[in-house]
Symmetry: D2
């Protein structure tokens, strides 16, 4: 299993009037998690896109367990949960500095070409994410 940890700091603009991070923000953090995992695996997503392969989110879930607070450093643990011929599933776990699980979830991504039609993940991508 490929796993990677990165951190983000909760921005003021990401809070809402409940005084906590707005729930759509976690989706952005998931993106940061998989971007940094891919970079660490030697496969920057920007490079993949330059090669004409786009990863399109097809499925998303998030379970919110405790609020993330302004200016907190949130740790994102990301792992590749499943690797298909033309898709990849990432799982995410968000923790606050005290180690408390704030949220967890997943995204499923389809590999498509510039025309948005499915394409097989190249061999080197499969290898690096395995």
């Amino acid at each position: 299993v490929i796993e990677h940890s990165s951190t983000v700091r909760v921005r003021y603009g990401e809070t809402d009037q409940m005084g906590v991070a707005y729930h759509a923000t976690h989706v952005l953090w998931f993106e940061t998690g998989r971007t940094e995992l891919m970079r660490a695996a030697g496969l920057p997503y920007a490079e993949l896109e330059r090669r004409g392969i786009l990863l399109l989110v097809t499925d998303l879930s998030c379970r919110y367990r405790a609020p993330a607070l302004y200016d907190e450093e949130v740790r994102i643990t990301t792992r590749v949960a499943r690797l298909g011929k033309a898709s990849v599933r990432f799982e995410y776990f968000l923790f606050n500095p005290a180690g408390r699980l704030l949220a967890d979830g997943h995204t499923e991504l389809a590999s498509v070409g510039r025309d948005k039609r499915p394409v097989r993940l190249p061999e080197d991508v499969v290898r690096k994410l395995s």
Copy 2:
């Protein structure tokens, strides 16, 4: 079943460099859907909050079926799928102007007080959402 339809227009800032609406935007549209359903049910969420009852998102899913494009009017059909003692589940269906299903999903919300502890949904709320 309580059901309601509203529309949003895809903003430029909601697109990404794939040329489609970024996937976190759908979560904001879900919010618009339930806000307008609640307003139509005679229960503006802003009023509920003034009474000290907050609805906190605890669970979210979204399945993306087709991209939403810039400036398109997206129709959101929202319904109350389940009403618990201190929680409510909404389901959402997003359609483009041609009637094609773009995405569907759900959110589960917990009713909490200003201290973020669970509180029962007031009787009039239950009645209006039933």
Copy 3:
């Protein structure tokens, strides 16, 4: 002077923990203002882009006078303040339902081609925005 009014409703995710609309949100509302002005002038921006002409924001200002609150309907009055050979300046005034000025500002936009190089505004665009 071409002038147009439209409205937006303050979304929950647009508020911050001060309990007011976050100040970057006004920039999105400005965009809604000019998009709707252009549509009303018979010149949908999406169409302009399909013709290969992009309007790129080069300058922005906003003066914040009073907070915009959650779920309020904000009225945006937009006008074309100046029309150059390859640029256009819009001015914006945001009002709350009570008619109070919440903020005002401007954006300057450059007309560029798909390669991001300056191009003259087509004649029909100039005419429709004059």
Copy 4:
């Protein structure tokens, strides 16, 4: 003059269909700039807010000079340009990794209490930001 540098990486969701960072995003980066300047000055904004002092943005400008691209590390140089009795003005300069100026701008912030009325900046704040 107090000056500080920090970096942000352009997120996918911050791009738009022009293939560059959407112009409202720069406003969020300005916030990151001043937040990190204040932290470096021994004055985390979160702490200031806990003491009951809020900094409300009253004025904003940004001049866009070159596009910021996806996944680029943007360097933010922030400085305190003016310090009033109940206000502070920050200036920002955004650079890409090649050292090219992408944008510059300012924000003016008013110090207010929890009731949003102006309050003098405490002496230690003035000292740390001078």
